[in-house]
């Protein structure tokens, strides 16, 4: 299917006459619509439909929702999910606010550290850190053992919902940090100066001008954190917290079966909340352009810190850095540990775990590389095609391609997984195997989930290619197809690579959709293997080693994409001058 879409895009790009160019456009549209229809719209529609259907008669009904509301477990799950998401936003804000404020308001060396710190947590799957956090912050973890020895106290960092909140806020606070920092940096300095000029200063200035102007960035980041936490399946499961919405959906489908309506009702709840928070985020960011830097100076006026402030700033940053690096540190130690239990540090160190995962469990790694690469490839082909159709043609309704692809943002992984199972469980391949147990369905799920990000990158890249550059080529005799090949695609390379890497890196550690779709371990990707290993105390070392490899893969590809993007920008800047 994906191959067919790719072909139609290429054929659109290779034709010469306007008539056939139109043909190519329509073929591309048909391919994209078919792909998204089959693997996004139909499965999700199916899930929503089933939630409103009477399980036995198939009649439209609200009885499933009524059952949901009558069931204490589900209501508790809902309350817990909501509570955990809100508290994660609160704690993520507590981590992010001082960092954002320090870096944008003051001149000091720590800014670079904070920048780096902002990406580190994102290159690790949150559930991978969860086990390491248990070992460090858990009831019998390093910190509490030490606290017990010294002060005879035990802080329940990781008990029940606390653990989920802690892990999620440490993992996702960069979303708030990045958005808030960007939004503070983008405030035109004149906005602040105009207020000072009219007699406003100090905290009033912050409250009346700076804070309202930075609000959109904060809200955008916060709603992203909210929805990521609300939808997440793997972290609560790994911490053995089952009474939350996503785990309940998963457990109902896997234990009770595909016919049980509760999983679908929960899915609808998850979708509704996703859409709501995306809506809030879009409301917040709308019209933000106006306040952004115009001619005459950007960003808030920077101040120098006095020594006391500097000490305070470094202390806060150091503490947060320690917290944020804790999962990585813990995971690294665990992957090298012989035994680590009831002691602040492991008893001894070994490389056996790495030998084990690189040997007998190599398929997890190779599967991940294969799946994530294929998903990334599908995403950039679709992304480039959609970007071209939306930005460079006048075909009526072309924006719906963009809307449809972006709609995947609002579909939690669990829901997509359930949708695939529901829609295609009964559909067989020629070999007799069910479509849903064929490994390629995992690739498709990953591609659909990551498409919105890749599409944004491709759109941005194409917007930067001025139409006049294309017109100049056509004016000199190049056909539409040759113009695309010789001018548009080379100039878009940076964006396409960025899109590919984003898709690849995030697909490599995705677990929620995958978890629903993996049918046997030999087809499973790394994230799933990690999850399986982490189930048993004996597998923890190997799981941690696998986690470190995941961190390595994601870290390397992120680094690579920054280097490539930098080189691309430098090359273009050189050409422009």
């Amino acid at each position: 299917m994906a191959g067919a879409t790719g072909m139609s895009v290429l054929s659109a790009a290779r034709v010469a006459q306007p008539g056939t160019a139109m043909m190519g456009h329509w073929l591309a549209i048909a391919g994209i619509t078919g792909f998204l229809g089959l693997f996004l719209v139909i499965p999700v529609a199916m899930v929503i439909l089933v939630a409103f259907q009477d399980p036995s008669t198939g009649a439209v009904t609200l009885v499933n929702f009524a059952d949901f509301l009558r069931n204490d477990l589900f209501l508790r799950a809902f309350r817990n999910s909501f509570y955990v998401s809100i508290m994660s936003v609160v704690w993520a804000s507590i981590f992010a606010l001082p960092l954002a404020y320090f870096t944008t308001r003051f001149e000091f060396r720590g800014a670079a550290i904070v920048q780096t710190l902002g990406v580190i947590p994102l290159i690790m799957p949150p559930f991978a850190g969860a086990v390491a956090m248990q070992l460090i912050f858990g009831r019998n973890g390093s910190i509490n053992l030490l606290l017990g020895d010294w002060f005879d106290i035990n802080i329940p960092f990781m008990e029940g919902l606390n653990g989920v909140i802690f892990v999620q806020s440490v993992h996702y606070f960069p979303f708030i940090l990045i958005n808030l920092t960007a939004s503070l940096r983008n405030i035109d300095r004149a906005m602040e100066e105009a207020a000072q000029n009219l007699g406003c200063s100090g905290f009033r200035l912050f409250r009346r001008i700076v804070f309202p102007l930075a609000m959109p960035g904060f809200v955008a980041g916060a709603s992203l954190v909210f929805i990521k936490v609300f939808d997440d399946l793997a972290t609560p499961l790994l911490l053995n917290v089952k009474d939350m919405l996503a785990p309940q959906a998963y457990l109902r489908i896997t234990s009770v079966g595909l016919k049980d309506p509760t999983g679908y009702v929960i899915s609808v709840v998850l979708i509704v909340f996703s859409v709501l928070s995306l809506f809030v985020a879009s409301l917040a960011t709308r019209g933000q352009d106006y306040a952004t830097v115009q001619r005459g100076g950007g960003g808030l006026a920077k101040r120098r810190m006095n020594p006391a402030q500097a000490v305070l700033a470094y202390a806060v940053i150091g503490l947060i850095l320690l917290l944020v690096l804790a999962p990585h540190l813990g995971l690294g130690l665990l992957s090298l540990a012989t035994i680590w239990s009831y002691s602040p540090l492991p008893d001894g160190y070994t490389l056996d775990h790495y030998a084990r995962v690189l040997g007998e469990s190599w398929q997890f790694i190779s599967n991940t590389l294969l799946y994530a690469s294929l998903a990334g490839l599908i995403d950039v082909v679709l992304g480039t095609a959609i970007a071209y159709l939306v930005l460079r043609t006048k075909i009526a309704g072309r924006h719906w391609l963009d809307y449809m692809a972006s709609a995947a943002l609002a579909v939690p992984g669990v829901v997509l997984g359930i949708g695939y199972l529901r829609a295609y469980y009964g559909v067989s391949l020629p070999s007799g195997q069910s479509v849903t147990s064929f490994w390629f369905i995992i690739v498709i799920a990953l591609a659909v989930r990551r498409l919105p990000y890749a599409l944004r990158a491709c759109m941005a890249a194409m917007q930067q290619v001025s139409v006049s550059l294309e017109e100049a080529a056509e004016n000199l005799g190049a056909t539409k197809a040759r113009t695309i090949r010789r001018i548009v695609v080379p100039l878009m390379t940076g964006g396409i690579v960025a899109g590919f890497v984003t898709s690849f890196a995030t697909a490599a550690v995705e677990l929620s959709a995958t978890m629903m779709l993996v049918q046997n371990t030999s087809d499973a990707p790394l994230a799933y293997g990690l999850y399986v290993f982490m189930q048993s105390p004996a597998g923890r070392g190997a799981g941690a080693a696998l986690g470190m490899i995941a961190v390595l893969i994601v870290g390397l590809s992120t680094y690579l994409s920054t280097v490539l993007a930098e080189r691309d920008r430098a090359a273009k800047a050189g050409a422009a001058t």
Partner: protein
Amino acid sequence: MSANDNLSRAEAADIRIEGVNLSYGKTHVLKDVSLAIEPGEFFAFLGPSGCGKTTLLRLIAGFNVAQTGSVRIGGAEVADLPPWKRDVGMVFQSYALWPHMSVARNVAFGLEERHLPRDEIVRRVDEALELVELKHLRDRKPSQLSGGQQQRVALARTIAVRPKVLLLDEPLSNLDAKMRVQVRSELRELQSRLGITTIFVTHDQEEANSICDRVAVFNDGAIQQVGTPIELYDRPANLFVANFLGTANILDGKAAGAGEARRFEVAGGGHFVIPADAPVEDGARLVFRPQDAMIGLPAGEGPAGAVVTREFLGATMRYVVRIGDGDIMIDVPHRAGAAQFQPGDRVGVTLDPARAMFLAR
């Protein structure tokens, strides 16, 4: 009209700047700047980008701090006051309207910061908006306004607090050419109605000349000359001012002879007769405006040269003539059917001796 009377009650203040030096690291941005601006004056800071004019404006508003020197507004030293205690109204180049507030809230902001009574604020917001004819848009958000309207809201926001002086940082630069001409005459009218001391920063000599009482020409962090637009044009203090305001012919050469025979010998050949008492420093160059010389058939006093090119500008024909080593421009008023010269023609140039200027730098 009562609204305007209320706003204009604020007393006009003078501005005295003395010995101001300002550096960013090794960059000396303002070099020993001194300046006196009289109460009620409409004053322009004119100069190319990077000349220090905006830096000085921001210094007056309190957004820059000078290493030395004093700034007095209405007799009071303000160098140590933060921006919010200076009572100096500034209209920003980007307008800096706060997007999260309506037009009326933007205008009310400064009054609220001054803790005026509620009804007083409402009244003065109305006055200010009436003055810029935008009362009907009071509930709009800034993003819903055109560039010209945003500019007027920014102006209303500033004059609503009745500041001692009004600072305008390139207020016309974000408007299109037609709006620019309209807004600048509105600005002039508003300023004379309010009688407020106003500084207008611009890089456009036409803007400065058309609306300002006096102009300070800036270059490279120093004031080159202060005067009325006509003084600056007719008697530039140096080559920079001569070149920056209008078009000037500049010829290398040296003065020779005395009395009746005193003349300026152009490098490369040819000479102009100049007044016997004309002060010509060593290394000074001959400077004159294109409309102050005439061309005719080669004869008599002036030097002769070949027409290089000509440009028809409508009211005038601009000839470029090679004299010695240099090319000079000569504007001849155009009338239908008048005789014309062609490129390559040999012509004689005569210069009104009274119009010749000699500038060493």
